[in-house]
Amino acid sequence: MERPADILKVDKLGKTFSVSAGLFARPLTLTALEDISFSIRQGETLGIVGESGCGKSTLGRCILQLLTPDSGRVLWMGEDIASLPKEEMRKRRRDLQIIFQDPLASLNPRMTVGEIIADPLRTLMPELDAAARRAKVLKTMEAVGLLPEMINRYPHEFSGGQAQRIGIARALITDPKLIVCDEPVSALDVSIQAQILNLLADLKDAFGLTLIFISHNLSVVRHVSDRILVLYLGRMVELAEGDDLYAAPRHPYTRALLTAVPIPDPVRARQRSIDGLEGEIPSPINPPSGCTFRTRCRFAIGLCAEQRPTLESTGTGLVACHRWRELELPAGA
């Protein structure tokens, strides 16, 4: 079977932020991402999961160059997009779009729905005239399930689910190849969340999109993703096919995350044992030595404090744990 081509490659990406420690104190360095490498195939959905502060949103923004990485490269169809001249980069921006979590907060309240959706066209496809823009807006609105008469309304007249459809239309209007979905359904009601997830699946099929789906909700990520990347304190701890990750998690953190997900099935929920994680995520300003997960890991040994585990191939995926070969982790859920 021929493997589809890699459309995006992230190579040793790193990002730090400088954090004020007080008026006269030397600023502290927060390591948001460290040594992130993976690639995405054409047409694939890659899920990125982790707890708050793990760097998942920062990673999405670095890929789109909305944040400038400190180190490493992002290769879009083989080209390092950070090194592209401005004009070239603008062309690439058509290909790379993003959908945000809070739909209403990410829409300008003083623009009409039509203006919001058309906005990317003004900079990214300036060659289109007004009539062509309007036609494109209407076509995109139809694709995401918005009625044509909504074109002159304002965002506040819409519910969260409809507002997210507007956000999706805005991302879709430039005919992108890849969309980063950053917690796109977290702010929505359950029934609306399911509608939007179905919509994303339909659009993906219809337009041949590649998706990066960032979420803290593992049930949602599981539902949409082909492969899943697990981040902890800005580092990759596991990358695997969705089915493998859920059936046989290799990293103790992945396993703990999976067993913590509430299951909407009372009998199974009562039966299962949660692999409870003690404590909370440590500060990324002063991360633990060696394996950053060791402070919460019940399998940690001396080596874990001394040496950072490198990513090793499991045959079907990658895992960063000194003990992954010897640990028998039961299925996650």
């Binding site: 707890e51 708050s52 519910s159 969260g160 689910g161 409809q162 009601d189 359950v190 029934s191 609306i192 969340q193 399911a194 509608q195 997830l197 179905n198 699946a201 803290h216 909700n217 593992l218 049930s219 949602v220 599981r222 539902h223 969705g242 089915d243 859920y246 703990a256 995350l257 999976l258 067993t259 913590a260 997900v261 509430p262 299951i263 909407p264 099935d265 009372p266 009998v267 199974r268 929920a269 009562r270 949660i274 409870g276 994680l277 404590g279 909370e280 995520i281 996650g332 859920a333």
Partner: protein, 327 residues
């Protein structure tokens, strides 16, 4: 079972500029000692407003009617001063975002001790000891150190523990938790749900869990009340509603919930949007979104009626719903 709270015919209305909106209509339910009742619904279902009304915390333009009996005391319509004798002592409420419920300028121990000084007439020294004990009980790491911290110095999970500790200081009979874990990471959420479970068992506290997350409900609740458009549309045990839902809305919620252990190609969501309370549909408020609707549903609102097993539903469709495999 000993009833700690029984609510009869409770409605909540809000006066707007020129109209009145009914957020909760004719709610009836009871809560037994030590049980966990999940109140499930989406935005605008009235699930939060119903319990804010019981706590006397409605916005100024809100008005509640009916009865909410705590023993032989009716909490509805009681003056705030009189309510203060029961709030915090017998019935306590915690919210989704703990930061908005904690005073940012007071140390944790100061705001927690106030509860004991006020309700239990403790002196400061005993109150502070009580605070540390309770923080320890709710699983706060390094409770003495955290007690001396300000809320902003704590993580989200720790703040929620402070809220729970504060709510439990007087060993209330009833704890109302409004989306208590929605803002938390899954691992912290799991810790919180564990904590709730042990607290209801150890203290006999009755827990009301207001949520839209059926995963949380499945692991914690004994009984469920599903609300739509301000009314209870289905009530029963958690198992009854999950494995044999009789209201199409309950079924729709189950179909909309992704399951971590199974990957379905598509979810089967409820069509359309939740209704606006100002313009509730005629007849059954759910009919515009309902796959099972027929003529009667447009014209007449189905009453909440008891089925043979004691469970209740408000729907004109008879018997079990034809359902595909749920979850």
């Amino acid at each position: 079972m000993e009833k700690v709270l029984s609510v009869h015919d409770m409605s909540v209305t809000f006066s707007l500029h020129q109209s009145e909106v009914r957020a909760v209509s004719e709610l009836d339910f009871a809560l037994a000692r030590g049980e966990t009742l999940a109140v499930v619904g989406e935005s605008g279902s009235g699930k939060s407003q119903a319990f804010l009304a019981i706590m006397g915390l409605l916005a100024r333009n809100g008005h509640a009617s009916g009865r909410a009996m705590l023993g032989d005391v009716n909490l509805i319509g009681m003056a705030p001063d009189a309510l203060d004798a029961y709030r915090g002592r017998d019935i306590a409420m915690i919210f989704q975002d703990p930061m908005t419920s904690l005073n940012p300028s007071l140390k944790v121990r100061t705001q927690l001790a106030e509860v004991l000084v006020r309700h239990q007439k403790m002196d400061q020294a005993r109150a502070h000891k009580g605070v540390i004990d309770m923080l320890e009980r709710v699983g706060m790491p390094e409770p003495v150190k955290r007690a001396n911290a300000y809320p902003h110095e704590l993580s989200g999970g720790m703040r929620q523990r402070v809220m729970i500790a504060m709510a439990l200081l007087c060993r209330p009979k009833i704890l109302i938790a409004d989306e208590p874990t929605t803002a938390l990471d899954v691992t912290v959420q799991a810790q919180m749900l564990d904590l709730f479970k042990s607290l209801t068992q150890d203290f006999g506290t009755a827990l009301v869990l207001i949520t839209h997350d059926l995963g949380v409900v499945a692991g914690l609740a004994d009984r469920m009340m599903v609300m739509y458009g301000g009314r209870a549309v289905e009530k029963g045990t958690t198992d009854e509603l999950f494995y044999d839902p009789r209201h199409p809305y309950t079924l729709g919620l189950l179909h909309s919930t992704p399951h971590v252990a199974k990957r379905a190609r598509r979810l089967d969501p409820i069509q359309g949007l939740p209704p606006s309370l100002e313009h509730l549909p005629s007849g059954c408020a759910f009919h515009p979104r309902c796959a099972f609707r027929f003529d009667t549903c447009f014209a007449k609102r189905p009453p909440l009626a008891a089925l043979e097993t004691g469970r209740e539903k408000a729907c004109w469709v008879d018997g079990p719903l034809q359902r595909q495999a749920v979850a």
